[in-house]
Chain length 209, copies 2
DNA sequence: TCGCCTATAGGGGTAAGCCCCTGTTCGGCG
DNA sequence: CGCCGAACAGGGGCTTACCCCTATAGGCGA
């Protein structure tokens, strides 16, 4: 199996190469340090698989994926996510990637992902599958809201460091209702306390850090 | 030369290990996936050198450096910066690090840095030296009330949604001490609860949103 | 040497958050 | 129409956070 590696950090490329070359049937046929190089190499060399980091100079992993799938659709693509988040999961799949692996779990999941790609199957980590399923269930597979407007309103106020009592006063509700909306939002998001809601609110742009 | 590696991404650890073990006189004696683990390993194993990523869960590389230098001052520390930024350079040196290497240049600079540390010398990349000079020139009087290193550690852990009990376990402290540090930090910053601390921690770059 | 700050730890209390329930009202939708 | 989900409200219980207070040990500078 001929594989192409693309990441802007040499250290990461070395780590990937080490991991892959322990497999007797995998051959790393090239490395790229940015997305444009990755695309050019993939189109020219037609590897069985291209492993692309999300964040790269010139072209992101997702942009490179789109171009590779257009010019060389038989090249499978696995996306490596830099961060421990899955916010690019949908875009990656939409761009034509066969799998999405978080870098933190790369050593354990990457080989499983490669084997899945070898069989022509898609691969998602359990976390990614959960995220995907949750999103599909909760927002009907399009860009709608996960939370109801009321819940989002209350999450925003929580993240602005208002107490339940203050929120109840602002919204003319009972404290109990506020608690219920907050609890429902937390349950939907899989969160345990207000602290996690703050980070969610910031990621969603509900408030400024 | 006995070396400890700490990074929350297994792939990066593998890459570092590969790079280091090509050197006949370097032995990687351990890997850590977060700052607390790195500190514990460094204190227990007393390596000649600990290579720490800046951004790690539980304790940042800088926080881990402070604790290592306090409990095992003979352990040299090299800071690896995740991104191509140098905003933590000054704090890294203040914390007791012997060097500061950007990950993008890690394969070329890291060995030079290690050799410098071996000779007991500090190491800065030319870019880092330039940044440092600029920082020293620009830094006059900030005036804000600063948190102690301990307080900052606890603020980070609070903002990562750890409970008092969990923080006490990670830092090997009583819950009461954690409460006191948290309260002192909140008093200094004029904040009333953990929610406000989260936004502070994100603004300060202690955690990602 | 004397203070001051930091880090550590605890006592004791109030307030708040979080979690498990039940229930009503209202509007939309198959 | 009958069902479902959203919004509303509450009971009761347990945990946690937050706020006073005291106290010791160590380091460091005036």
């Amino acid at each position: 199996m001929r594989v192409l590696i693309a990441d802007d950090h040499g250290i990461v490329r070395s780590g990937l190469r080490l991991l892959l070359e322990r497999q007797p049937d995998i051959e790393v046929i090239g490395e790229a340090a940015d997305g444009a190089e990755a695309r050019d190499l993939a189109v020219r060399e037609r590897p069985d698989l291209a492993i692309l980091d999300v964040k790269m100079p010139k072209l992101t992993g997702l942009q490179a994926t789109r171009e590779i799938k257009k010019q060389a659709p038989e090249v499978a693509v696995l996306i490596l996510s830099m961060h421990d988040d899955e916010r690019y999961l949908f875009e990656a799949l939409k761009a034509g990637a066969s799998g999405y692996v978080l870098k933190a779990q790369a050593d354990t999941d990457l080989l499983a992902a490669i084997r899945a790609v070898e069989r022509g199957e898609p691969f998602l980590t359990p976390e990614a599958q959960r995220t995907l399923i949750k999103d599909v269930l909760e927002r009907g597979s399009s860009g709608e809201e996960e939370l109801t407007p009321r819940e989002e309103e209350i999450v925003k106020l929580v993240a602005e460091a208002n107490t339940t009592k203050q929120i109840a006063e602002v919204l003319h509700l009972s404290e109990k209702t506020v608690e219920n909306h907050r609890a429902n939002a937390m349950r939907k998001l899989g969160m345990r306390d207000r602290v996690e809601l703050v980070r969610y609110a910031i990621r969603r742009g509900l408030i400024e850090p």
